[in-house]
Amino acid sequence: MNETQTPENDKKLSKMGMLSLAWELGYVIALPLLFFGYIGKWMDSKFSTKPWFALLGVVIAITSTTIWLTRKIREYIKK
């Protein structure tokens, strides 16, 4: 009984999981960007190297969000 239930179980769960992901995805893209940018700006004001740390923070935020996103999407598409 478990075998026949698990495939549609996974598909239903992944649809619901994808729906919940869609609600937060906007925030997950926006909030780390602002957070890392702000940390970069604060480190800039401490070490006085003008824009480099803020740019590094933004780049870190964009890369890690993209990697996380591609992993999540790969799981859902494989199912």
């Binding site: 997950v28 870190i60 494989k78």
Partner: protein
């Protein structure tokens, strides 16, 4: 202005000792008292053949339990999650609909606010206060984590997020995998951000909808008092039930996803 435009923060009405009672707090206590009395009444009237209020309550509960079953596919889990999810749904629904009754937003005391004498309403929809929705969102997300730890076990649950074991294994290999470990660490940080994003999105969605509806109804009732607010009140009815459904459904999904053991992730690499 003869009507009171609700500000972002709920206004304090009276002070009991050191505790400030705001007008959104009065509404939420009203909802709590109503549900408490309803619970007491239902507890006394248990009979095998239900009539009257017990019949109504049982039919409503069966309907909601059926919807919860569609997400969890497991009756035992549905019965465990049903108090939280059903409680959130009925509380939010009741608070939203009571906020439409005549008297909320209009009956008030004349207090001195920022140096001018203004009408401070006594009642205000409970979810139009960001504290309330933030508390419920934090409760839902932290509750899902706690349920996950209870159901699966601490280290297996923690491994879902930070993937500590993979990081340790790749550190032993040395060389390039130090960079990989840094990337893994950043991705784990994004997972933590995903939890924060859940809380922020849950609370801001409910707060924004109900607060905007309250301000809209107040301004419309101030402009033209008869007839024109009617379609907007109908809209607020629909918005109330949709927001309650979305909040409780998302809580249910977080709970379900947190308590399912991951057995299918390992074979996707």
């Amino acid at each position: 202005m003869i009507y009171a435009l609700p500000p972002l923060v709920a206004e304090p009405i009276l002070h009991i000792g050191n505790f400030t009672v705001t007008n959104a707090y009065i509404n939420s206590s009203l909802a709590v008292v109503v549900f408490f009395v309803l619970g007491l009444i239902l507890r006394k009237r248990t009979s095998l053949v239900p009539t009257g209020i017990q019949n109504f309550a049982e039919s409503v509960m069966e309907g909601v339990l059926g919807y919860v079953d569609q997400v969890t596919h497991n009756r035992k889990k549905s019965l465990q999650f049903f108090p939280i999810v059903g409680g959130l749904f009925f509380f939010i629904l009741f608070s939203n609909w009571v906020g439409l009754m005549p008297g909320t937003g209009s009956i008030g005391r004349w207090l001195m606010v920022h140096g001018e004498k203004e009408l401070v309403p006594l009642f205000r929809p409970a979810n139009s206060d960001l504290n309330m929705t933030l508390a419920m969102a934090v409760f839902a997300v932290v509750g899902s984590h706690i349920f996950g730890i209870i159901a699966i076990g601490f280290f297996k649950y923690f491994n879902k997020f930070i993937k500590l074991w993979d990081v340790v294994v790749s550190l032993k290999k040395g060389g390039v995998s130090i960079m990989v470990a840094c990337i893994e660490f950043a991705v784990g940080l994004i997972e933590i951000f995903s939890e924060i994003a859940k809380m922020v999105s849950l609370s801001l969605r409910l707060f924004g909808n109900i607060f905007a509806g309250e301000v809209l109804l107040t301004v419309l009732a101030g402009l033209i008092a008869y007839g024109v607010p009617l379609p907007f009140m109908f809209l607020e009815l629909i918005v109330g039930i949709i927001q309650a459904t979305v909040f409780s459904m998302l809580t249910l999904v977080y709970l379900t996803v947190a308590t399912t053991p991951i057995h299918s992730h390992a074979d996707s690499h």
